[in-house]
């Protein structure tokens, strides 16, 4: 019976590795300048974790095969028994592996979070609230109007709580429910949560970042391919979470200029 279990473990381990090795589930197309690094990191993590997983399963199967029928007096009843050295070695190996992943991953992480956006990056503010995303562009004056939380009124579509009557900077701000950006232009995304925690996830952009209420989180990225992509919330934020999404339209510069003009005219 124990030998059957050992064989089953080996078979399951090998079967689960096949789709990964055959690349059955490919990652969605990458449309960002930083995505290649993230994909590389993901592949490395997958390879490292995969090899460790298979090795652990094979060792487990081997031990079951070899030692399952030991006489009662030979069984280890106290952890770690006589395997103290092996257990310490296993902890060190796993610890080193996790650390190595972290050290190599810094490259991909730093590129997104530690390198500041370029001076000409285009600022766009995104506000997440139950259960929709709204986007704000600073308009021709390149200045965002001040947010007044007490003036937020979705009934009048004053989503960001702007005060155009008294705040000149707010008058030309463009607010939209979809996010349009020009292709090959760096975007500096200023993230703002209206109520609870949310997340901004565009799989093709290889961007996934939480909104934290009370914190101004920023991100920067450059999209490299024209198209329409889905922005979804990946942080369970309440009853309508399933429905919290928006669209990212990556456009040519000319199309973007037209889009912005059209939005400003509304």
């Amino acid at each position: 019976m124990a030998k059957l279990l050992a064989v089953t473990i080996v078979v399951i381990a090998i079967l689960s590795a096949i789709p990964i090795l055959r690349h059955t589930w490919v990652a969605p197309e990458d449309i960002s300048t930083h995505g290649a690094l993230i994909d590389e990191q993901m592949s490395e993590t997958m390879a490292e974790a995969g090899i460790s997983f298979l090795a652990a399963q094979f060792v487990l199967a081997f031990f079951i095969w070899k030692f399952s029928n030991r006489p009662a007096e030979a069984k280890i009843t106290k952890f770690p028994g006589g395997a103290k050295g092996l257990v310490i070695a296993a902890i060190l190996v796993v610890g080193l592996e996790v650390m190595a992943l972290g050290i190599f991953g810094v490259k991909a992480w730093a590129n997104v979070y530690l390198v500041p956006p370029g001076a000409d990056a285009m600022p766009i503010q995104v506000q997440a609230g139950q259960f929709a995303f709204y986007f704000r562009y600073p308009g021709p004056d390149k200045k965002f109007g001040t947010i007044h939380p007490e003036m937020v009124n979705e009934g009048t579509q004053n989503i960001f709580g702007l005060d155009p009557e008294h705040d000149v900077d707010a008058r030309d701000d463009v607010v939209a429910a979809e996010m349009a950006i020009p292709v090959n232009k760096e975007v500096h995304l200023l993230m703002h949560a209206k109520d609870v925690g949310h997340s901004f996830y565009v799989r093709e952009l290889r961007v996934q970042q939480d909104f934290v209420p009370g914190l101004d989180v920023t991100l920067h990225f450059t999209a490299t391919k024209v198209g329409k992509y889905e922005i979804v919330c990946t942080q369970l934020c309440g009853l309508g979470h399933y429905n919290m999404k928006a669209y990212l339209e990556v456009m040519s510069q000319a199309d973007y200029d037209n889009w912005l003009k059209q939005q400003a005219g509304q």
Binding site: G129, F131, A132, T156, D163, P164, E165, E178, G240, N243
Partner: protein
Amino acid sequence: MRTNKAMLLISTLLVGSSFMFAGTVSGKVTYTGTPAKPKPIDMSKEPTCAKQHPTPITTETVVTDAGNTLDNVVVYVSSGAPDDGQVPAQAVTYDQKGCQYIPHVAAMHVNQELKIANDDQTSHNIHPLAKVNQEWNKSQPPGTPPIVQKYEKEEFIPVKCNIHPWMHGYFAVLKTSHFDVSKGGGEFKLPNLPAGKYTITAWQEDYGTQTADVTITGNETKEVNFTFKAKAY
């Protein structure tokens, strides 16, 4: 027996006379100045609703009509007419269609039945933000029967959908059965008013309230007009 007959005669005369000599207050609601431009509502995140509006709908906080008139203004008798306690038997319907509340403002009598229907292929979560009455919010998946509710106290209640942040409306819960919501060029009509002195109030969700006093002496129609000052922002 004779007393009963006399009573019946008197009550018939009284009831009859109240209709025979009932007055009407009618008029228009207008504005001066320039109201804020209604903003288009982008429903792209809810495609089943977006496709119902080839031209995007706009915000309904201020709905203007031809000749500087205002629709969706609740006009009602705020004093003078005793609360007759006559709760209309017919329910007020409030529809969620194309991710929009129809009508935008629903006026009702205290304790009148309110039926809220979901005609969309998506879930809604209707949330009237009552402060005087009991607050509640209810999910309504597509295809479910109407939600039936009543409000016990007089209140103007903002209504929102917890799933679609652009959906906004109002419930006007009134202690009188003499009310109307201006439409078709800001017009309203309050019929069946017995002779007496009344205060008529007009309520607009963004511009506030205005009142006017009127005296009905018999079978007549009195014109009362309201003018609100528009806000540019």
